[in-house]
């Protein structure tokens, strides 16, 4: 069947996620859940003295979209400054996924970005998936 959402690369990342597993003594760490589906994601970072990401690991469980997103973005952020990481917007993930995401699944897609950014910033990023995506009609939401 033709199912654009589950294109090969996404399934590949889902089944064999990159940078998956525990990290000892991370410099930065953040955890969050997707309240509507029970997905959980923990992100751990090692950074050098210039706040550049040296290593990233994630743990948790979730759907193909959230796990593949986490896997794909984890490849991208190595070598990135925390400041730049904190400034990423949703397009960073959506471009990587390269597929149409429904409003409901948007939360799955963006969970990893949210957790990464909060690890970078040190607090949970000001994330309003429900307010923005659900209380507002499509188009108004910005991460």
């Amino acid at each position: 069947m033709d199912d654009a959402l589950y294109r090969e690369e996404i399934l590949e990342h889902y089944k064999r996620p990159h940078n998956f597993g525990p990290m000892e003594n991370p410099d930065r760490e953040s955890f969050d859940t997707n309240p509507l589906c029970g997905d959980e994601l923990r992100v751990m970072l090692k950074v050098d003295d210039n706040d550049v990401v040296e290593e990233v690991r994630f743990e948790g469980h979730g759907c193909a979209i959230s796990q593949a997103s986490a896997s794909m973005i984890s490849d991208e952020i190595k070598g990135m400054k925390l400041d730049d990481l904190a400034r990423l917007d949703r397009s960073a993930i959506l471009d990587l996924l390269g597929i149409d995401i429904s409003a409901t699944r948007m939360k799955c897609a963006l969970l990893s970005l949210k957790v990464l950014k909060s690890a970078a910033i040190g607090t949970l990023a000001d994330w309003e998936p429900d307010t923005a995506d659900a209380a507002r009609p499509a188009g108004g939401a910005q991460l």
Partner: protein, 407 residues
Amino acid sequence: MTTASHTALALDFPILEQEGLVYLDSAATSQKPRVVLDALEDFLAHHNANVHRGVYPLAIDADTRFSAARAQIAAFVGAEPAETIITKNATEAINLVRYSWGPQNVGAGDAIVLTEAEHHSNIVPWQQLCEEVGAELRWLEVDDEGMISLGQLDEFLADGRVKMVAVTHCSNVLGTINPVEEVVARARAAGAASLIDGSQAVPHMAVNVDAIGADFYVWTGHKAYGPTGIGLLHGRRELLEAMPPFLTGGDMIKTVSFEATTFNELPFKFEAGTPPIAETVALGAAVDFISGLGIDRVRAHEEAITAYALSQLQAIPGLTVQGPPLAQQRGGLVSFTLDCAHPHDVAEILGRDQVCVRAGHHCTQPLMKKLGLGATTRASFAVHNSTDDVDALVGSLGNVIEIFGES
């Protein structure tokens, strides 16, 4: 739309196809335009699913329509969707504030200011809160023309004990349109919160929640051409965020464990359980209907009918009109008493002529006491009414006087 274009808009309301029906009870509940019935039918027949969690297309469709309707309803009154909480009616909206905001913000020795003309729904919750925490109520008097005094409000606010000023935007008995911006500004300057009960205002005059600036603004769908089962609470984000949840359960949580619970973002934090989904969509159609007419034209139309009704009614001997003398000071309703007949008998005889008016205390017993009346008869207007309807009212009042007038 002119005062005489009865039939044009009346055609939009299926119930008005009933031969001879003169509906003058929109302040109790509005009749529903065809577009609202169609929106209900369309949603339930083609797009129905539960919201918030569905992955399949029908559920996403339902969700999208529900969210869009919330946004539309919010925009209609100049509010933010996230600050727009869907309740079951205006009464629940006020109770939400009473239960969630109340106990943390009102304590022993504090005071709450109400007007004498409040609806029971904007009295009893505050009375209960005062009893619970040991606070007191201060009643803004209404004068002979149905007006409150900002001077008295200032007096009440002077000692700094007032924590809440809860005032109706438009009285459902006197018709008085209160100066809510001034009330809110004075409350805020004195460190008090404010709640405006817009139940009689929203579909009848331009309401901009943001411009009014109240901490809380409530209204109710069924009086605004929407279905029963939906009310609105608009709250300022800072306050809503500081408030604990009220009703708890599904959809308003973030996580639940055997030990504890964390709560969802606004507005969902205050929306426990399945919301009135179809009703929200239908109310979206209702505000669309009003927007299509233009709220300023609606107001002009209803003000003109009210002016006509005031002049016609006041010409009837033995009839006393309550509230402000001028139509521009009023929403589209007129309460009155007849010397010769009790309001219930008036309404009964009018009802036999298919002139539908409300009689009783209109859920404002304290006001009735103040007015020295047990009850009034109330005629209230909506977009579908015309001066013909006022003529029918006046004609039928002639029958009342014929029956009761001679002694």
